[in-house]
C-alpha cells in the first residue's frame, strides 16, 4: 500500500497507544460522550441478549460457521465468484489497498463516462473503505465521494476519523453536530433536536441520492452459495444507494464470506443484538447480481485481501477473521470506554482493533496495540462469535517480544526475573535485595506502615497516581520456616 491512505494510517499509528491515549484522556467532552454512548448501547445490548434463551447456543453456532468458513476460505471465495458472475455481477480480486483503490477508481471513471455523470459517487458506511483510505484516493483523482450514513456524513463533513465500528461518530454530541451542520450545510438556523439534525441531513442527502448514478458499498456478508451480498443498516441510506444508482461497486474483505444463505439465520440474530441492541436491523438488504429493469444494471464486487491471508496463516490468531464487526467488544471494554477509538490509531479500535490492526499492518508501527488491554476478558465474554481476544493479544505480544533485540532493556529484565524464579535460593535473595533497594524510597504513614510514593523510570507510571506498600520485613516462606522450627522444637 503506497497510497496516501497508508501514510496517514502509519503517521497515526507511529504514536504509541499510551501517548495517543493520554491525549484522549484529557478530552473532557470526549469522555463524557463516551460514558453516555457506550452505556446506552451496552444497556440495550444487555436487554436484547437476556431475552434470548439460546444466546450461548447462537454464539456457539456463530463461532462454528465462521471457523468452518475460514478453514475452507479458498473454496467458498471461488464459489462466490462463480455464483456472483452467473447472476450478472463482475468479480475483481485485490491483493492490497492500493490495488483495491485503483480498481474502484477505474470502475468509477468508466461509470462516469458511461452515465455521462459528474465526478461524484455515493457511499454507504463501510469500514473496509475506511481501512484502505478510499475517500482520499478518490478525492486525489478528482472524484467526490458523498457519505450517506448520518454518522459517516458527520465524520466526513468534520474531516474527522471514525472512532467506533458501528457508531463512527460516537465521540461527537449533538451540540457539536449542530455546529458542524450549520457551518458545512450553510444553515443559518438549526435546532439541536436529533429530529431536526436528521432532517437537515436528509434534505442534504436526498438531492444527492437523486442526482448521482454511482454508489460504492461495503458488505456485511457475501453468500458463497448464491453469490448474494448482504448489508444491514438503520437509516435506509444504504437501501437508497443499492436501488437508485445504475452502477454499484461493492468492496469486501475476503473474510466476509458465508457458505450458505441459511447461515444468515444465525448471523442476522447475533449481529443486530450485539451491535445496536436491536432484535433486527431496520433495513436488511440482500441482492444477487443484476436484474433487468430493477436496481443497478452494472454490479461489481471487489474481493480484497490486504493482509487477511497472512492472518489466516497463523493458527492462533486466525480467529481474528471470524469478526462480524458488531463492535460489542468496544462498548464493553474498560480501556476503550476511557480512551475512545482515536487512541488506537486505526479505523479498527477497541479490543478487536488491538488485534486486527497490528496484523493487517504486519505489526509495522502498531506494536503497542497488543498491550492496550488489561486482559480482563470482557471482550471475549460478549463476542457473538466467541473470538478469544485475550488469547490473541497475548499471542501477538509474544511475537512483538520475539522480534526485539536481545539487548532490549525490558527483555533483559524479564530474562533476569525468569532466572530468579527458576531457583528458590535466588528468589529468597531477590526478595531480600528488593527490601534493601527500595529503602531510599520508603516513608512511613501516620499508622507506621511503610509506603513508596515515588519511583524512577517506568515504575514511576505506577507511583504517579498510586502508592505502593513497601515489601514487608518477613516473607511468607520466612514466616513458614520459623513456624516449622517452633513446631519441631515443641
Amino acid at each position: 500500500m503506497s497510497s496516501e491512505a497508508l501514510n496517514i494510517l502509519n503517521h497515526r499509528a507511529s504514536q504509541s497507544f499510551a501517548t495517543a491515549a493520554e491525549r484522549s484522556l484529557e478530552d473532557t467532552q470526549l469522555r463524557k460522550n463516551l460514558r453516555h454512548a457506550a452505556t446506552v448501547i451496552q444497556t440495550k445490548r444487555g436487554r436484547m441478549v437476556a431475552e434470548m434463551p439460546d444466546w450461548q447456543e447462537l454464539r456457539t453456532s456463530g463461532e462454528a460457521i465462521r471457523h468452518h468458513t475460514m478453514e475452507n476460505l479458498d473454496i467458498y471465495l471461488e464459489q462466490f465468484e462463480e455464483a456472483c458472475t452467473k447472476a450478472g455481477g463482475v468479480v475483481h480480486w485485490a491483493r492490497d489497498a492500493e490495488e483495491a483503490c485503483s480498481i474502484v477508481l477505474r470502475l468509477t471513471r468508466e461509470a462516469i463516462a458511461r452515465e455521462g455523470a459528474s465526478n461524484e459517487v455515493l457511499k454507504i458506511k463501510s469500514m473496509t473503505t475506511e481501512e484502505i483510505g478510499l475517500n482520499r484516493a478518490l478525492e486525489a483523482e478528482g472524484v467526490h465521494p458523498y457519505e450517506t450514513d448520518l454518522a459517516e456524513l458527520i465524520i466526513q463533513l468534520g474531516q474527522d476519523e471514525p472512532s467506533h465500528l458501528v457508531v463512527p461518530a460516537l465521540h461527537k454530541n449533538r451540540e457539536q453536530i449542530r455546529e458542524l451542520f450549520m457551518h458545512e450545510m450553510n444553515l443559518p438556523e438549526l435546532g439541536e433536536d436529533p429530529q431536526e439534525l436528521a432532517s437537515a441531513a436528509r434534505t442534504f442527502l436526498r438531492e444527492r441520492f437523486l442526482r448521482v448514478p454511482i454508489a460504492i458499498s461495503g458488505a456485511n456478508f457475501l453468500i458463497a452459495e448464491t453469490g448474494g451480498v448482504c448489508i444491514v443498516e438503520s437509516e435506509g441510506n444504504g437501501r437508497m444507494c443499492l436501488t437508485l444508482p445504475n452502477t454499484l461497486i461493492t468492496i469486501a474483505g475476503i473474510d466476509k464470506v458465508l457458505p450458505r444463505f441459511q447461515d444468515l439465520e444465525v448471523m442476522l440474530q447475533i449481529l443486530p443484538r450485539s451491535a445496536t441492541g436491536e432484535r433486527m436491523n431496520p433495513y436488511n438488504s440482500l441482492w444477487t447480481g443484476v436484474w433487468p429493469g430493477d436496481g443497478p444494471q452494472n454490479f461489481h464486487v471487489i474481493l480484497m485481501d490486504n493482509g487477511r491471508s497472512n492472518i489466516l496463516a497463523d493458527a492462533v490468531s486466525r480467529q481474528t477473521l471470524h469478526c462480524i464487526r458488531c463492535g460489542a467488544c468496544q462498548n464493553t471494554c474498560p480501556v476503550y470506554q476511557q480512551t475512545g477509538g482515536h487512541a488506537y490509531g486505526s479505523v479498527y479500535a477497541g479490543p478487536i482493533g488491538a488485534i486486527l490492526t497490528p496484523q493487517l499492518m504486519q505489526m509495522q508501527a502498531a506494536e503497542t496495540l497488543p498491550y492496550a488491554s488489561s486482559l480482563c476478558g470482557a471482550c471475549y465474554e460478549v463476542c457473538p462469535v466467541k473470538i478469544n481476544i485475550p488469547e490473541v493479544l497475548v499471542h501477538l505480544r509474544n511475537k512483538v517480544v520475539e522480534k526485539r533485540s536481545a539487548l532490549n532493556p525490558e527483555k533483559l529484565t524479564m530474562k533476569a526475573v525468569a532466572s530468579v524464579f527458576r531457583s528458590e535460593g535466588r528468589f529468597r535473595a531477590a526478595v531480600r535485595l528488593g527490601r534493601v533497594a527500595e529503602r531510599p524510597f520508603e516513608h512511613a504513614d501516620g499508622g507506621g506502615q511503610k509506603w513508596i510514593s515515588w519511583l524512577p523510570g517506568l515504575l514511576g507510571g505506577w507511583t504517579n497516581t498510586r502508592d505502593l506498600r513497601a515489601i514487608p520485613g518477613e516473607s511468607f516462606r520466612e514466616w513458614w520456616d520459623k513456624r516449622k522450627k517452633k513446631v519441631n522444637l515443641r
Partner: protein, 251 residues
C-alpha cells in the same frame, strides 16, 4: 485433608498475611497445610507480557513441587487462571520439544487438583460458613480472572454473607476491571489510572471500611489509590477476613 499451599511469588514477597490467613482458615477447619519449599512463580507475568519462553520453564518446576498433592490451594485467581488456561498448551509445547516426556499427562492430572482459595472452600470442601467473625462493613470486587476464567460466580460473596457480624455491601460495576492488568499498569499507566479512578469512586460510594477480593494483585492496585487519596478505606484478601474469628487473635 492434606492441602498444599501454592502461595505465588507476589503474595509470598508482598502479601504474606494472605498466606498466613489461608493456613489459619484451613487448619481451623481441621486440614493439614503443607508448603513445598521449592515453589516460586506460576509464570503469569512472563506469559501475559509476551515472554512465553521464559514462562515455559516454570511449569516443570510446579509439577515437581506439587505433583503428589491431594489438593493445591492458591490464594490468587489470576494465577489459577494462568494455570488452567495455558498450562495445557505449555505442556504440549514442552513435550513436542522432546525435553519433558509425559508432561502433557502429568499436567492434565494435576490441574483438576488446583483450586483458587474460595473455590477450594465452596466447591471442593462444600463450605459456605467457615466460622469467621468480622464485624465490619465490607464490599467485594469481582477480580476479572476469578469472574470470567474461573467462573467463581457468587462463591466469594456467599462466604462473606456467612461471616458473623459482617455487613456486606454490593459494589456497583463490581465486574468491571480495576485497571491493573499486570505490566499494563505501568505500560499504560494513564489509562490504567483512569480505570482505577472509576473503581475507587464505586468503592467509596459503598461506604465500606474494607474492600476485599480473591486476588491481591487487584487489591494492591485499588489499595494504591485508596491510600494515596487518604480515603481511610483498607483492602484485605478474602482469606484474611475469613481468618478472623471470635477469639480475636491476630495473625
Amino acid at each position: 485433608m492434606r492441602i498444599a499451599l501454592f502461595i505465588t511469588c507476589y503474595n509470598d514477597a508482598l502479601f504474606p498475611e494472605a498466606g498466613k490467613a489461608v493456613v489459619r482458615v484451613l487448619e481451623r477447619l481441621g486440614h493439614e497445610v503443607t508448603f513445598p519449599a521449592g515453589q516460586t512463580c506460576c509464570g503469569q507475568m512472563h506469559f501475559n507480557t509476551g515472554y512465553q519462553k521464559e514462562a515455559l520453564s516454570l511449569l516443570p518446576r510446579f509439577l515437581e513441587q506439587f505433583g503428589d498433592a491431594e489438593a493445591i490451594v492458591v490464594p490468587s485467581s489470576s494465577c489459577v487462571a494462568m494455570m488452567r488456561e495455558h498450562y495445557g498448551d505449555l505442556a504440549r509445547r514442552l513435550e513436542a520439544s522432546g525435553s519433558h516426556p509425559g508432561i502433557v499427562q502429568k499436567t492434565a492430572d494435576i490441574l483438576p487438583r488446583v483450586f483458587e482459595f474460595s473455590e477450594l472452600l465452596t466447591k471442593r470442601l462444600g463450605l459456605t460458613d467457615v466460622g469467621a467473625y468480622f464485624p465490619h462493613r465490607v464490599t467485594c470486587h469481582a477480580s476479572c480472572h476469578g469472574l470470567r476464567a474461573l467462573d467463581l460466580g457468587d462463591g466469594p460473596m456467599e462466604l462473606l454473607r456467612n461471616v458473623g457480624g459482617l455487613e456486606l455491601v454490593q459494589l456497583e460495576r463490581s465486574d468491571v476491571c480495576c485497571g491493573f492488568g499486570g505490566t499494563f499498569a505501568v505500560k499504560n499507566a494513564a489509562v490504567s489510572s483512569a480505570m482505577l479512578s472509576g473503581k475507587i469512586n464505586d468503592v467509596l460510594n459503598t461506604g465500606a471500611e474494607i474492600c476485599t477480593a480473591t486476588d491481591n494483585s487487584c487489591l494492591m492496585h485499588i489499595q494504591g489509590a485508596l491510600h494515596r487519596q487518604k480515603t481511610g478505606v483498607r483492602t484485605m484478601h478474602l482469606a484474611e477476613i475469613l481468618a478472623c474469628d471470635e477469639s480475636g487473635e491476630v495473625l
